[in-house]
Symmetry: C2
Subunit: 213 residues, 2 copies
């Protein structure tokens, strides 16, 4: 009974992605099965393969969508501040808040392992870069004397740090003894990093403290 044209290929893909997101949030990553996704939109498994190359392809597109939402979430948070230090703190809070609100989807972005040969699809790479560039912007404002390479390095190390606190908090591997909320920890990390950065800039006039030994 192959009805036809009831939905275009694009509509079908969009429906499948919606279903995948719902499945992820309601039942967790291991329940994100091709059959479940297909069933949720009233099709059979085979039809999914008419639209996606395979499960990996589906996951990658879910991840792109999640990254889009994350970016919007962060943009909204950034709209309310202007000073660079406040911007970085706001980004950190927004990053953590989004991850906490959508833990399964957020983790899927970072934990999904692709086949050994293939690397990240181009659009995903671009979206990740966009984040770092936004961080770099505020860093540059706080550290005008730094070279572009230094700014990039700072953005990477600082945001990598925020990411780490977020992962560990989400997976319950950060709490020891009494547990400070993750928001406090990210704020502390950002605050101290920036203090260290601007102090180094002010006192030595230029370079950051030599980090190795």
């Amino acid at each position: 009974m192959g009805r036809r044209g009831e939905h275009t290929k694009d509509e079908l893909a969009a429906m499948a992605l919606d279903a995948a997101v719902a499945l992820l949030e309601e039942e967790g990553p291991e329940r994100l099965t091709t059959r479940a996704v297909a069933g949720r939109i009233g099709y059979t498994v085979g039809s999914l393969y008419f639209v996606f190359r395979n499960r990996e392809d589906l996951i990658l597109q879910v991840n792109e969508r999640t990254l889009d939402e994350l970016r919007e979430h962060i943009a909204a948070a950034l709209a309310e501040v202007s000073e660079p230090r406040a911007s970085l703190l706001a980004m950190g809070r927004a990053y953590l808040a989004f991850a906490s609100a959508h833990p399964t989807r957020w983790r899927l972005i970072f934990e999904h392992t692709r086949a050994p040969g293939s690397d990240l699809p181009e659009p995903l790479v671009r979206k990740i870069e966009a984040f770092f560039l936004q961080v770099a912007e505020s860093i540059a404002a706080l550290n005008p004397r730094a070279s572009p390479a230094e700014v990039r390095r700072s953005a990477q190390s600082l945001w990598g740090g925020v990411h780490g606190i977020t992962v560990l908090a989400l997976t319950g591997k950060l709490a020891i003894g009494g547990d400070a909320p993750a928001e406090v920890l990210t704020a502390e990390l950002i605050g101290r990093y920036l203090d260290g950065m601007v102090d180094a800039d002010r006192s030595h006039g230029r370079a950051p403290t030599s980090p190795l030994r």
Copy 2:
């Protein structure tokens, strides 16, 4: 053909763990299958269930073993330094080096999702705590005026940060444009964090800069 007593239950468990580690390093996490592990030690699947409750149990024990190795690796790095700042940098380097040398096993520790109800097994929690305590020790030495709660917070945020850089570097989600090696980034994060911490302590005589706003 049930031969008997050829290996004790404990020997069998140890052999299975060895096989699992080898499988992980040689073929990746998705090939860590119960049948493959059993086959590698010359048994059939069912025998694995004589020794482990299920695949999750096996993975948890692999993770414990990996954490033990990681701790030894870090201890060796710490043996060569005494000053607290150098200790933290050495720990960061060792953490990253171990993760780079055993990416699959290392990621399995943090990416393995356990069933929604159950939480981390006690021994694993203790081993994670031990790390933070070691970090906290050096932090306390650098920041003698800080309360225990402050020290713990610092250890969590700083080490969370190191962890984040390590994850992103390992999964290729950190590199943007020219990519500074991850060792440089962790050293930079640690250096700046500590600079920010001790400067705050020196100038205000006590508390760190209020992190929020």
